[in-house]
């Protein structure tokens, strides 16, 4: 097929970036690369249930290291972009890592590492053969890809990658409730991604590009005639990502499904999946379509209040510990949406900080529920009891997690709530601030009740006051370090961020500034010229 064109005549530099990529910039694609290779290796060794967890843990540790390196480099050099195939943007698919994406990617990979450790105990040989570790590692490919991509259609693809991996995880075990929950989870999430895809098609129709930086640069030049179309796209995106993030009117898939799978799967889902939706909301509405956000601010505020209050009321009405936590995930999503509704620098920082806090604390709470189940033999508050007597140290850890999720000092939930309330008050949205505080108060009641019933009282329902019944203990040893280590890591981070919030203040402020002032983001993709 040798054509008459000799390569010497063609000036590739008009369409390609010919300079070699700096060695450190490969870190932008490293998390996705490691997860995909790791997933493939785990899949090949899926019959070898002894070696597979160790292999998966190596890849998950590499993933944490790569994300850490990426975050350090982003903080050092600013936003980093790598374009696939070396094509000049917007023609090649760009991976753009900024402080927001890199921070969330790092925290998500730490949670996945903890889940890998925890799963070594709770996932049996059958679960491993049916692919717990391959799905977990591939899920991380989707999550990290979504956090790091700079292209909207690519974001859709990563959403699908994490969704298909989560399908594999949620049906692991094949119980009746699981299949029932998975149907609702699958159907509603698929409808959500289809809505996302409609909006993406319309974005392409309006701008002729799908690169986020390109759209962010072009949107201000758009004439008023297109503002109606933009608003349609904005509403579609809001509905789609609200569905993913489990915001109020479209969140019924979450309480229907999150308590059904293996407890470690619930922990990963509660930590990561909804937060990817929140991340997409921040990315789309603050970076790309700030005008749509301004226009929809009141709507987002109403949705945020409804999400917080209905979520926490749902938690109060449950007797199953996992379902209580499922509703608390929803209440947390409301707080992050409150930050998006206000939209100021402080509010977006608060939302980012809250997302990090929520990833850590929700995963840790579900993992703690798994330990409670092992000690007390049940997830039902009526049947639990006497766990304080069985293990006072664990009771203390649970109390820390309960305080953190309620937003009480000195733990990580306190600071983002302070930021969000402050931002809402200075924006004149007193009701929003009130709802944040009220949901925090009611959350304290919901988790406090779990602690009182499961830990503080002497035994299950019907035990006379003042007597203590020894917890049944379960058949498997709960002394396994693979159970305690992940909870310990997450709790240590929660306490650290509570006592030393400066680290997260700095990270979330840089993350927020990066999306509110998109100049750095656009320059990273297109260079300084335009």
């Amino acid at each position: 097929m040798a054509g008459p064109i000799s390569s010497a005549k063609v000036d590739y530099s008009a369409a390609m970036n010919l300079a070699p990529v700096a060695a450190g910039d490969w870190l932008v694609v490293a998390p996705v690369l490691i997860s995909l290779v790791g997933g493939a290796v785990c899949l090949m060794t899926r019959k070898n249930t002894q070696a597979q967890p160790k292999l998966a843990m190596i890849f998950l540790a590499l993933l944490v290291a790569a994300n850490l390196g990426l975050l350090v480099r982003v903080l050092d050099k600013g936003v980093i972009t790598m374009v696939m195939g070396g094509w000049l943007p917007p023609f090649g698919i760009a991976f753009t890592a900024d402080a927001l994406g890199a921070t969330l990617s790092l925290v998500a990979s730490i949670v996945a590492f903890c889940a890998g450790l925890y799963g070594a105990v709770t996932v049996d040989g059958t679960g491993r053969r049916y692919g717990y570790y391959p799905f977990l590692v591939l899920l991380m490919a989707g999550v990290c890809g979504a956090f790091l991509t700079g292209d909207i259609f690519n974001l859709y693809v990563w959403f699908e990658v994490l969704l298909i991996a989560s399908f594999g995880l949620i049906i692991l075990g094949n119980d009746r409730p699981q299949l029932d929950g998975a149907v609702k989870y699958g159907v509603l999430n698929l409808i959500g991604t289809n809505l996302f895809l409609i909006g993406t098609g319309m974005i392409y129709g309006v701008f002729g590009t799908l690169n986020m930086a390109d759209i962010a640069a072009k949107i201000s030049e758009l004439d008023n005639a297109a503002s109606g179309t933009l608003l349609t796209i904005g509403v579609l995106y809001f509905l789609a990502f609200a569905m993913k993030a489990a915001a109020f009117p479209v969140n019924f898939w979450l309480p229907a499904s999150y308590h059904t799978p293996n407890i470690v799967v619930s922990a990963v889902f509660a930590g990561l999946l909804t937060k990817v939706g929140v991340y997409a909301l921040i990315r789309i509405f603050v970076l790309i379509m700030p005008e749509s956000r301004d226009y929809m601010a009141d709507l987002i505020a109403v949705v945020a209040i409804a999400t917080m209050i209905t979520g926490v009321l749902g938690a109060l009405a449950q007797t199953e510990v996992r379902r209580v936590f499922g509703y608390l995930v929803i209440a947390g999503i409301g707080s992050m949406l409150a930050g998006l509704a206000v939209g100021s620098n402080l509010a977006i920082s608060g939302a980012i900080f809250y997302a990090v806090h929520s990833i850590l604390v929700m995963t840790a709470l579900y993992m703690a529920a798994g330990v409670m189940h092992r000690m007390g033999g049940s997830y039902d508050m009526r049947e639990l009891g006497g766990l304080y007597g069985a293990n006072p140290a664990f009771a203390g850890v649970f109390l820390i997690l309960a305080f953190a999720v309620s937003g009480l000092p000195p733990f990580s939930g306190f600071w983002p709530k302070v930021m969000l309330v402050d931002a809402a008050m200075s924006d004149g949205r007193g009701w929003l601030a009130f709802a944040i505080l009220l949901s925090g108060f009611l959350t304290t009641l919901a988790v406090g009740r779990v602690w009182i019933y499961a830990f503080w009282r002497g035994g299950p329902e019907g035990t006379p006051d003042g007597t203590a019944v020894a917890a049944s203990g379960g058949t498997i040893s709960i002394g396994s370090s693979a159970l305690w280590l992940p909870i310990g890591i997450l709790t240590a981070m929660i306490v650290y961020f509570g006592l030393q919030p400066e680290v997260m203040f700095d990270l979330s402020a840089r993350g927020a500034l990066g999306v509110i002032e998109p100049l750095g983001y656009v320059r990273s993709v297109f260079g300084d010229a335009p």
Binding site: Y156, I171, L179, V183, K184, L190, I191, N194, Y204, R382
Partner: protein, 125 residues
């Protein structure tokens, strides 16, 4: 041409929403399949319909000589078709397994994960 296709897409959306409002799981899944197709067509329409030549550059040239059809929406639609097809296949199997286990395909009666008469939490200490 674009108006005509837009109307067809609208009909597809209407049919898919109607089917998804059904309480029979199989109908909902058919609605989702049609929803996926209507979304794909809307992406295709957003790339603008042209009756131009295929986007192939003649031999010996560096750029096409005339206006060609837009290849990007086709690439997007191809990606979306593959994804939605695999999801649809998964959901069909899942729905069948759920039907086997739960014994109904009426979503109002699929209450295994969230039982109707769930006990309230303890009211007092």
């Amino acid at each position: 041409m674009e108006t005509g296709l837009a109307i067809v897409i609208g009909l597809f959306f209407a049919v898919s929403v109607y089917l998804m409002l059904s309480k029979q799981l199989v109908r909902m899944l058919l609605g989702i399949a049609i929803l996926g197709n209507s979304v794909n067509m809307s992406i295709f329409l957003n790339g603008r319909l042209t009756r131009e030549v295929p986007p192939v550059i003649p031999q010996g040239l560096l750029v096409p000589t005339e206006v060609t059809a837009n290849p990007l929406p086709q690439a997007l639609v191809l990606t979306a078709i593959v994804i939605s097809f695999s999801f649809f296949a998964f959901l069909l199997v899942l729905a069948f397994r759920a039907y086997q286990e739960v014994g109904t395909d009426d979503v109002n009666e699929m209450r295994v994960a969230e039982p109707e008469n769930d006990p309230l939490p303890p009211q007092g200490y």
